[in-house]
Symmetry: C2
Subunit: 415 residues, 2 copies
């Protein structure tokens, strides 16, 4: 089963927003064995939508549209679907009741004709319930191709996708299994890895696809395969992973089953019943933000301090001014003192700290832009690691956050 995702709306085409909907939809489809063939973002222009539907129908069994279902004049998806399917809009009693209920219970103003018109649905469509909004999802069929239309508001789209579409696809269509394994390597470039594993890569069975994903000082290798026998697929991938381990086991730092490193670290802390605190300078709160973005963080995360100015490291974290004067604020000594101090303040088992210069200008210290020290305090010891993260501010910060989680993962695994 091949899918084509089409997002409708000029805000993506003028770069006003990043299209995160497609990645969500693609991931959900991948999980149930539906291959995404293409993702297209197009403008809310009738002819452009019609042309895209025609083109998509030729190559895809499933076309998923998002956007253009609101109650205003620039929302034309429903009318365009009617034209494509030679259909008319009819009032759907169930949707009308849902819209009226939403207004009764959650909106402090009278319902308008435009809101009621959300219940007008192409007669050939079946309705996919939108628990959180007035625009329902719609499921239509043309020949062998299924067309699904959803609103573009992310949380509405997500709920329709997981509650309505995925279960129905699973029920109505037989699909193969798609299995991926992603290995994380560290410290060696992709060309050198490719060189080392060349013979292995040349002998890879044709139904296993290899991709190199280079990013910020690390390269991920993804193996993908699909078929009907999930046990066999997993067995085949495991065999290749074993061979890879013989060749480059020394640079493989982990396996990525789609879980973010924050999520991996979170489950480790919870499983081992340990607590964590953070003291952030150059990462400015991003480590804490990444931790607390995951539900259940309160189970192990005690909290953090963002001590951005040197002054606040002295006043709040009680770092010795003499230590800063002697070693500079961007130093191993200060990183370690920060980790120890925040661990004491929050009475946590582990603590992590960052101090560095993310640029673009040199700050309170003489450290080069990109120099970052990450400190870790554990029940048994304290240490720090120095990194040079390059000269892009955004990159320095996100690399530092990644590194902090990697170091933390390594450390908690030892205990």
């Amino acid at each position: 089963m091949r899918a084509h995702i089409i997002t409708i709306g000029d805000e993506i085409l003028i770069g006003q927003i990043v299209d995160t909907n497609s990645a969500f939809i693609a991931k959900e489809l991948d999980k149930i064995g539906v291959e995404v063939y293409q993702i297209s973002s197009i403008s809310d222009d009738k002819q452009h939508i019609l042309d895209s539907l025609t083109a998509a129908e030729k190559t895809a069994d499933l076309v998923i549209l998002t956007g253009g279902l609101g109650p205003t004049k620039d929302d034309i998806t429903k009318h365009t679907l009617c034209e494509y399917f030679e259909d008319i809009l009819v009032e759907n009693a169930e949707v009308l009741e849902h819209v009226e209920n939403l207004f009764k219970h959650h909106v402090n103003r009278p319902i308008l004709p435009a809101n009621r018109s959300q219940a007008m649905i192409p007669s050939k469509a079946s309705v996919l319930k939108n628990a959180y909004g007035t625009a329902p999802g719609m499921w239509m069929q043309s020949g062998n191709t299924v067309f699904i239309s959803m609103p573009g508001v992310p949380f509405e789209m997500k709920s329709i996708m997981t509650e309505e579409i995925i279960p129905r696809l699973q029920k109505e269509f037989s699909r193969p299994f798609i299995v991926h394994r992603t290995l994380q390597t560290y410290g060696v470039g992709e060309s050198e890895i490719a060189n080392t594993i060349e013979e292995w890569e040349n002998n890879l069975p044709s139904d296993i696809k290899l991709a190199y994903l280079p990013a910020l000082g690390k390269v991920r290798l993804r193996l993908s395969t699909k078929g009907v026998d999930k046990v066999l697929l997993n067995h085949n991938l495991d065999k290749q992973i074993t061979l890879l381990n013989e060749l480059i086991g020394d640079i493989i730092v982990g396996y990525d089953d789609g879980e973010s490193i924050e999520a991996v670290v979170a489950s480790l802390f919870k499983t081992k019943n340990k607590t964590l605190a953070v003291a952030e300078s150059c990462t400015g709160g991003q480590i804490a933000a990444a931790i607390t973005a995951i539900p259940g963080a309160s189970g192990y995360f005690k909290g953090g301090m963002v001590t951005y100015a040197t002054h606040s490291k002295v006043e709040l974290l009680k770092i010795d001014q003499e230590l800063i004067d002697k070693h500079s604020v961007v130093s191993a000594e200060v990183a370690e003192a920060m980790a120890v101090s925040v661990r004491n303040w929050y009475k946590s088992d582990y603590a992590i700290s960052t101090t560095g210069n993310a640029g673009p200008l040199k700050g309170d210290s003489e450290a080069e832009v990109g120099t970052v020290f990450i400190g870790i305090a554990t029940p048994a010891k304290v240490f720090s690691v120095e990194f040079n993260m390059g000269n892009h501010r955004e990159r320095v910060i996100s690399k530092s956050v990644n590194k902090a989680f990697e170091l933390l993962q390594k450390e908690i695994l030892k205990n």
Copy 2:
């Protein structure tokens, strides 16, 4: 001039990464008057790339490709371009020198044949310099369509885009001006706005396009127009904005010229020479992270505390345990005490605090999921505002961050 952006790589199609490159490219093109007609993400399959090039050439004057230019076997863009252009790869001396220099100065290992092969370029291509990587950008022409290929690594792509492509497009092609104005409204749904401005919308000149962008409790209205006379375009939009202000001025809270609210708040603090500190509970560091993501934050941001657990509010922020017991940890009183305390700790002019329940479960307090108090302390006063942000964790957190910046903006503007 119409552009089609094509990103190549399975990682987008399986939802492993979000395509942020396209938004960046689209925004840069929009700024210089190039209209993006479509964005497509396709797999690294030769035939799919060839078909997409053919289709794009029919409707676009400019086709921008990213991805598939690395040194490994899964990188096939260059070879596919050769096939499309009936061309061959030839060694480019300038690129070879650049690759060798990069290895000499920045890489601690010998250069491999695969790295040197980055200097093999289609003979019909002109090179776009990649200051940060080994894969150059390439500029080719077929009929009246320009094809540009760039690596997919974001910081390499960004530098090629801004340093090489934009200046060359500006030099070689005459383009119209594209002008947008985005108004932020608050508190009224899109259907009600549409109802109020219906007559105005019906009378809008045909060269001005209106879009409704509903999101998290607010609706943005975007007016777009294009033409050759920038002064006239701005004048025409200003005239419509004045009319809109007469109709819905009471709900317009701001204008969005593409700047994020964090950036707006940052310049306000710097202009007014005021400082800021934050105490975050339910937002878990995301306010601090948003502030420090912008270069120059050290000029006004003193730092923050993430006091996630109730315990840390007492021990670190020195919030009175009795106050918490009396009013609950999610309360106006605690939000205000947090703001006052963190303002004192960091000796800042302003301070902002959050306490609430982001879900999915009730935490240390009896507050309903979605209840959030935001506290603000200024040199003159302290106050707090209560919100109900709904029951999606991600949404509660990001809405709270937005609200915090909105309140802060309002407050600093008064002084």
